[in-house]
């Protein structure tokens, strides 16, 4: 090919070919952003503080902070993987050091060792443990942490364990149970009757790290030597917890507060198993010195005997189908036909709003493999001048859409919603109705559409008229 370029005519021909190729590449379809992309982005930017990156002037931004939870990742598996990954990233800097707890050791070394133990299981004997982790919201987080997780772990080693977590949904919509079984290189995840088998990444995480992201990040930071390391001190012997002697470790406020995991920003106290350094109890404080996360072990036995079936992997469910990103529908009748159950639609539209574009989001069903069904959709309503003014987003109640915080409003007797307003002039009213999650937005940009603003009262009026 390089020989082609030496001949002028061949050079021109090659140039034309490149132009044709470039044109073909530019003509490839690129998906639009998902609904609410810009609203989510604005919300996340609102919590981010610009930080000068003087270490790599003009270089790519790879600031030294952990990736925040993904905007729409309020998904049961993503939770597990995301939090474990966040903990792993936070702990990556912590170098486990051989440590004899009987010998004098610095508080930082103990913190470092405890963090590494929770992440890798290094040095832990087989155990069975039940613990409760509660996490309070601490400022806006695109993916709110589950307020309560009860975790039962059966553990024989880093590559052979079983973890059953009962998770309370962030908006307290209910609970869900996720079971994860690691057996050798594979991990089975069972959630909502669906079994997914994945290959474990490297040595993998032990399940202790899954729900204790903030507590372990804090512990790892306390054990590090960087400028962001909080102060750390030993508080002597603690009380017996389920028969185990404990050691108290205290960490001060973080010198580098985190926007994506503010639960770890304040002081924290840990009660560690004196022998293994497992975290048996922890209390973390977040913004305003309010308690942001607690961990409490309620049952712990070392060297238990597990039935052989404990770590047997279940049969995986069929793969979910790959579905097209967005489908346009011509009218409401087509939308009703496309959905498995009748949608909630405004019975009346105030302010002379008119139905505009309708877009549906196909997702793979949990039943038969290869089937995509439409469960979520958007309807854009235009004002009398023809400009998009309001967008309705509707999805199953358990959908991973971000629930923006805001003030509670009464839509109609017996139905309340949450109204939030952003600095960009957008307003979102969301609520749950008949098993569906509904959100109305005005102002701002959503799915690439600029929406003009309507009064919040109009959104409430539309919401009040929603019927099947």
């Amino acid at each position: 090919m390089s020989g082609d370029r030496e001949h002028p005519q061949r050079n021109r021909a090659a140039g034309e070919r490149d132009e044709i190729l470039g044109a073909a590449l530019r003509s490839l379809e690129v998906p639009a952003h998902r609904p609410r992309f810009h609203a989510e982005l604005r919300a996340r930017l609102g919590t981010a503080v610009p930080e000068p990156d003087t270490t790599r002037p003009d270089g790519p931004a790879r600031p030294d902070w952990n990736p925040p939870p993904r905007g729409r990742a309020r998904h049961r598996l993503r939770w597990t993987i995301g939090l474990a990954a966040a903990a792993a990233v936070a702990l990556a800097a912590a170098v486990a050091v051989p440590l004899s707890v009987n010998a004098p050791a610095s508080a930082a070394a103990i913190a470092r060792h405890a963090a590494a133990t929770a992440r890798t299981g290094a040095g832990l004997p087989p155990f069975e443990l039940t613990e409760v982790t509660t996490t309070a919201p601490a400022g806006f987080q695109p993916e709110p942490p589950p307020p309560r997780v009860t975790q039962h772990i059966e553990y024989t080693g880093p590559s052979r364990w079983r973890d059953e977590s009962i998770i309370t949904e962030p908006s307290r919509e209910g609970t869900q149970t996720i079971t994860q079984i690691r057996n050798g290189p594979l991990i089975a995840s069972v959630a909502a009757g669906r079994v997914t088998i994945t290959r474990a990444a490297g040595r993998g995480e032990v399940p202790l790290a899954a729900w204790q992201g903030a507590a372990l990040r804090k512990l790892a930071a306390a054990g590090s030597a960087g400028r962001c390391a909080p102060s750390v001190s030993l508080g002597g012997n603690g009380p017996l917890i389920d028969g185990r002697a404990t050691l108290v470790l205290r960490a001060g406020p973080s010198p580098c507060p985190s926007a994506d995991m503010p639960q770890a920003n304040g002081p924290a106290t840990y009660w560690l198993d004196k022998q293994t350094l497992l975290v048996l109890r922890a209390v973390l404080h977040g913004p305003g010195n309010r308690i942001s996360q607690t961990i409490r072990v309620t049952y712990l036995r070392y060297h238990p005997t597990f039935p052989a079936s404990t770590f047997r992997l279940p049969k995986p469910s069929p793969k979910p189908a790959a579905c097209p990103p967005v489908t346009s529908l011509p009218d409401l009748a087509a939308l009703r036909n496309a959905l498995g159950s009748p949608p909630l639609i405004p019975a009346s539209l105030p302010d002379r709003l008119q139905v505009g574009p309708i877009a549906a989001q196909p997702t793979s069903g949990t039943g038969t493999a290869g089937r995509c069904k439409i469960t979520a959709f958007t309807i854009t309503y235009r004002n009398p001048a023809g400009h998009p003014a309001v967008q309705l987003y509707e999805a199953p109640r358990a959908s991973p859409a971000v629930r923006f915080p805001g003030r509670a409003v009464t839509i109609r007797p017996g139905l309340t919603g949450t109204l939030s307003a952003g600095t960009g002039g957008w307003a979102i009213l969301w609520w749950n109705q008949d098993g569906r999650y509904c959100a109305l937005q005005s102002g701002g940009i959503t799915a690439g559409v600029h929406l003009t603003r309507v009064p919040a009262a109009v959104l409430i009026q539309i919401a009040a008229s929603m019927r099947r």
Binding site: M1, R12, V30, P31, F37, L45, P60, A61, P63, A201
Partner: protein, 212 residues
């Protein structure tokens, strides 16, 4: 070789004539960008959102072609935009803002691909011990007359990014090299291979259509 760069190597000027934003912007666009950048540096969210809007289409194309999933594309772009916003203080303007943003998006996407390849891929128990090669041979795919998107998807991600930046977005080699953090020579060689494979896909595809 008469010229190491060859006749096809784009300069910023050539790209500018084509109106490509990534490679060369019109003065009025640059003025808007400079104004928005100055406001964004003060923490003005709306200015920042408008600023990234200037490059969003090209960045969506890059992220989507690398990740091949619209949800992951959006997740990656949100993460990249957030990183860019946090790091605005470190941007000194020695490279174009668009190139800087491209590099952040590229890095985030490559991180996601690395995470994807190190775990989390769906597989059945039966298949677990007999996993097929995840990356089909590009030539083979092209020879099967799959369309351009499929042939593009079959290229290794780094090669895919190179051809997208240079051929689709019109970046000059130097800028593309900065975005990809590789020497200019590497851009040339990746491009040469990628173009050959994609042309083959196009011509095979065309022949297929002609026959049908």
């Amino acid at each position: 070789m008469a010229s190491a760069s060859g006749a096809n190597e784009r300069t910023g000027e050539e790209a500018s004539k084509r109106g490509d934003r990534a490679a060369g912007q019109k003065p009025e666009e640059m003025a808007v960008e400079t104004h928005l950048l100055a406001r964004a540096r003060t923490g003005d969210l709306e200015a920042f959102v408008q600023l990234i809007g200037l490059h969003d289409r090209a960045l969506r194309a890059l992220a989507y072609r690398l990740l091949e999933d619209p949800q992951q594309m959006d997740d990656a772009l949100q993460e990249a935009y957030l990183k860019a916003f946090r790091s605005l203080g470190g941007f000194e303007g020695r490279s174009a803002f668009g190139s800087w943003l491209h590099r952040i998006v590229y890095n985030v996407c490559m991180d996601q691909l690395r995470q994807r390849s190190s775990g989390g891929r769906y597989l059945s128990l039966a298949d677990a011990d007999d996993m097929p090669d995840p990356m089909p041979d590009p030539g083979e795919v092209a020879a099967q007359r799959l369309d351009l998107a499929a042939a593009l998807a079959s290229l290794p991600p780094k090669m895919r990014a190179t051809v997208l930046l240079v051929d689709a977005e019109g970046m000059d080699y130097q800028t593309a090299a900065q975005v990809l953090a590789v020497p200019v020579g590497t851009v040339r060689s990746r491009l040469s291979q990628a173009r050959g494979l994609l042309r083959r896909a196009l011509s095979e595809d065309k022949r297929g259509h002609d026959r049908s």
